[in-house]
């Protein structure tokens, strides 16, 4: 369909795209600015990056973030794939609610509920409690992506394999699994990104001992706007860009959100 679109429509859509990108551009550009103030362009420097790499707390936070995201995405990929499979194949009553609820309710509720839960269990807050919480909210996302992939799959392929004498496990291993693999990988990348970016739930379940990149950024930003934050933000933006590009390549349907 290629009709003439009124100019005001183009303009407003263009304005919306500018609105989306200009702020991020500002952050990136000023990460190379040779001034402590994020106000005027003074000159090019990479000093903020080298300062960043000498910042012990920030490096520790980055290590924590990567570790948590790695463990959380692996575990939630397994559990989420199973959940997605169960949602597709069986008539479940409780599971659909438990899969969608963490996504549908305000994040702060899950954060404070888990905080109380861990404290009641006498589990000291830290890397473990953060990771356990991240797995809980990532399962749903993986499950939805995997289920979407499964519902697009031709069921008769599995039946054919079974008719040819494959056991249910073999049919899964050699037919279903390769077919849903792009969905599984896309789901795990999604879980990784969600985990590494999460602020609210991490904020409540981290306690005083452990810090992650978002928590570190939060505490820096609370005190002052500094170009060091621009530098770490730029690096995180790059990482996210990389992950989403890979995910979009593997499963273009991920972008549709037709669920």
């Amino acid at each position: 369909m290629n009709r003439t679109v009124p100019a005001w429509l183009w303009t407003s859509a263009l304005a919306a795209y500018l609105f989306l990108y200009l702020p991020l551009l500002v952050v990136v550009v000023f990460s190379f600015n040779d001034s402590k103030l994020n106000a005027e362009w003074v000159g090019f420097t990479t000093a903020w990056y080298s300062k960043l790499f000498r910042n012990g707390e920030m490096l520790m936070a980055a290590r924590n973030s990567l570790l948590i995201a790695l463990v959380a995405s692996i575990v939630s990929t397994f559990l989420g794939t199973m959940a997605g499979f169960a949602l597709h194949k069986y008539r479940m009553r409780v599971l659909p609610v438990l899969v969608v609820a963490p996504i549908a309710i305000p994040e702060i509720l899950m954060g404070v509920a888990l905080l109380m839960f861990f404290v009641m269990l006498n589990l000291s807050l830290g890397l473990v409690s953060i990771t356990l919480s991240h797995i809980a909210f990532c399962i749903g996302y993986v499950a939805l992506v995997v289920r979407a992939r499964l519902s697009g799959m031709d069921e008769s392929l599995v039946e054919a394999a079974r008719d040819c004498g494959a056991t249910p496990l073999e049919a899964f291993r050699y037919v279903t699994f390769p077919l849903i693999l792009p969905g599984v990988i896309a789901g795990s990348l999604m879980a990784f990104t969600l985990s590494i970016d999460d602020f609210v739930i991490t904020f409540f379940t981290a306690g005083a001992a452990a810090s992650t990149l978002p928590l570190q950024i939060y505490s820096m930003v609370k005190i002052a706007v500094t170009p060091e934050v621009n530098a770490i933000s730029t690096l995180l933006l790059l990482l996210t860009l990389l992950l989403i590009t890979v995910a979009a390549r593997i499963a273009p349907g991920l972008l549709r959100m037709n669920d």
């Binding site: 309710i105 509720l109 404070v112 839960f117 809980a136 978002p214 933006l237």
Partner: protein
Amino acid sequence: MSDAPQQPGSAREKWFVAGPPLAYLIVFFAIPTLLMVVASFRVAGEFGGLAPLRSESGAWNLTLTNYGRFFETSLYLELFAKSFVYALVTTVLCLALAYPVAWLIAHSPKKYRDLLLLLVILPFWSNFLIRVYAWMIILGPEWALARALNTLLGLVGIAPVTLMFSPFAVIVVLVYVHLPFMVLPLYANLEKHDPTLLDAARDLGAHAWQRFRHITWPLSLPGVFAGSALVFIPAFGIFAVPDLVGGTDGIMIGNVIKQQFLESRDWPFGSVLSIVLTVSALVLTGLAALAARPRRSAA
């Protein structure tokens, strides 16, 4: 949902597959949520947290006073009303910004659609705090925006204003952070519209506004509703945005919940606030869904 036939004797297989994720979500989601519901009826501990569930005499230590406290003063109801207004304004602004974008993507050549959509999603995948932080720079007093505005205000003799740390900053950032949530469901809906309907309307002499008012808009209501729910619910309960850019005037209910848990350490009252927040967010979106229904059938 699939209607795959359930084979007999597959019960063991079913629990083998569904059991682990079910167990995990029960332990780390259902139980904590239920504990919070119980906590909202419990008594606060002397040094924060919770008092024992049963007192030394063995009586249950449960009370309704936490809920009473919520309605005792107008403070909390006002805070809820304020958060509601902020979330509503955010939702309406997101809708106004997102509709042209979603419509244009849905009507652009197929080969560009994925790219245009990806361009909307990318900022959404970038870290939430970075997106807030970007506006802390832009709305900051040293930046051109504030300076230009204040020069202008100075010309007409109005005292300079600060953009940061105000309800204005909260709304701008809330719109920015949630915009993609509105574009995606709107696009998914608009893409499915049958273009021949618009052609028919045009042939019958309907001009552009009439075609929008009587065809596109009513058909897009499910998308409008889905997007609004995706924007409204998180915006209603947000605490990081008002915390960072709201100053004292821009405080929302999320900030008070955070304060109850981390500063006052009054868990029962914090639980009450969280439950009222969640229930009212879900009820409001439910009501909006009902309101959207009759008009949809009239279309």
